[in-house]
């Protein structure tokens, strides 16, 4: 069993995660109900229980490089079943923000890339431009024809319109203002 060695840097990381996420990981029983129900846990992705263990023993680098929070789709299954009601997607947000501060490239960078493109679309247009975001993702990952046949079928049936990709939407001023206020609040902290 790994334990805290007493190095202040370990405790600092743990405290940071506890405070930012507002989740009391110290109550974790390591029972494993979270990982048992976690849809993204696999041989490669350790799942919530292991991730919490890494945080509790102050293994900052391991926690920030853990693919679990990158894969997390915030399904809420772990939070629903956890006997002490720890919400892991709140922890995922915390780790994602900390990793960004440290300029760490998260494991599973393609998931991160998609989320990043999604957020940029929201920040530009106010509403995510789904088809443009998909197209951009496919181009950036050098798979321009990914899901092409499904896209074509949907267009043929009239379910989606190719114009949605081409037509430019106006920049949304309200979201720009909101984002600048958010940045101000973050910097003022």
């Amino acid at each position: 069993m790994l334990r805290l060695t007493g190095d202040p840097s370990e405790r600092a990381f743990l405290n940071q995660v506890l405070q930012k996420s507002d989740q009391n990981l110290l109550e974790c029983l390591q029972c494993g109900k979270c990982t048992a129900g976690c849809p993204i846990a696999s041989e490669e992705v350790g799942g919530p229980r292991q991730l919490i263990a890494a945080i509790l023993i102050g293994m900052k680098e391991r926690a920030l490089k853990d693919p679990t929070w990158v894969y997390c789709v915030s399904c809420g299954t772990c939070a629903t079943r956890c006997p002490v009601e720890i919400n892991m997607y709140a922890v995922a947000t915390t780790l994602c923000e900390l990793a960004e501060k440290e300029n760490l490239i998260p494991s599973a960078p393609e998931i991160h890339l998609f989320e990043d493109l999604f957020m940029k679309s929201v920040l530009k247009y106010g509403r995510v431009q789904e088809l443009r975001t998909v197209m951009e993702y496919n181009l950036r990952t050098f798979k321009p024809l990914k899901d092409f046949s499904q896209g074509l079928t949907l267009m043929r049936k009239g379910a989606i319109s190719p114009f949605e990709i081409l037509k430019g939407r106006k920049k949304n001023q309200a979201v720009s203002r909101l984002f600048s206020k958010v940045q101000q609040a973050e910097n003022g902290k």
Binding site: P39, C96, E97, E110, V128, N138, E164
Partner: protein
Amino acid sequence: MKVSYYPGCSLEVSAKPYNISFRQVCSSLDVELVDVPDWLCCGSSAVLKMNHLLSLSLAAKNLSLIEKQDIEEVVVPCPFCFRRLLSAQQEIGQDQKIREVIRETIEAPLEGNLTIRNLLAFFQTTVGLELIKAKTTKPLKGLKVIPYYGCYMVKPAQVTHFDDPENPTSMDAILTALGAEVLDWDFKTECCGASLSLSKTEKVLELSGRLLKEALWKGADAIVVACQLCQSNLDMRQGEIFTAEKKKHPLPVLYITQLMGLAFGLSAKDLGINHHIVDPLPIIKERGLLS
């Protein structure tokens, strides 16, 4: 009856059938939907993970726009938007410090007392099963449906406070009211892979694949959903999922609102039923449900 309507980004683009069938059904039920003016994206799972304050501010901004409409209740068909708005209202309500920060970021007042309903709760509580039953002129007799709830509408229970997170029954009840034969199964709230569809497609093939295979094994004619992400994953990925079995596109995936529309006597075309990859029309015809 008048309610505020927050459709969310997907319903404007990739999930138009969900949007139009919901609007059609509401008009049959004499519900007036008042669109939230100038609504913004709720931030979805991407912003929720990447930036807590931005995610909270986007949701709060929308809540303030809804409050301005001066209608007590808002219906949110996208389960993620539903959970995000509800969760933000709770978080802001519980924390004075956050409340002050949010007031600064959204530059608007926020009461925090909206009734935020997902689609199933709206039909169950606001509309009521009796009215749905009364409007059913063409019962879905003989159609074997399997209700799939997905995650975001019911989980985590501490946020959604809706139905049972492991074995929900609200959609079952609506489908029964429509006269369909409702099949029971264990995967009602098992994840479909959600937003990993593009970035980790193999994960979605695994997760959606086991849902589809179980539903087929149960003998379903169709899977019924109330989430556009579930619809898309289950409908769009069947070609890849069933390549090994050499069965192509065997199981239609319909929105609950499309089946309600059919039972209310609306035309399949007006409900966007022809807009899915797996064509639901053959099985609907086979069961004699097309007028």
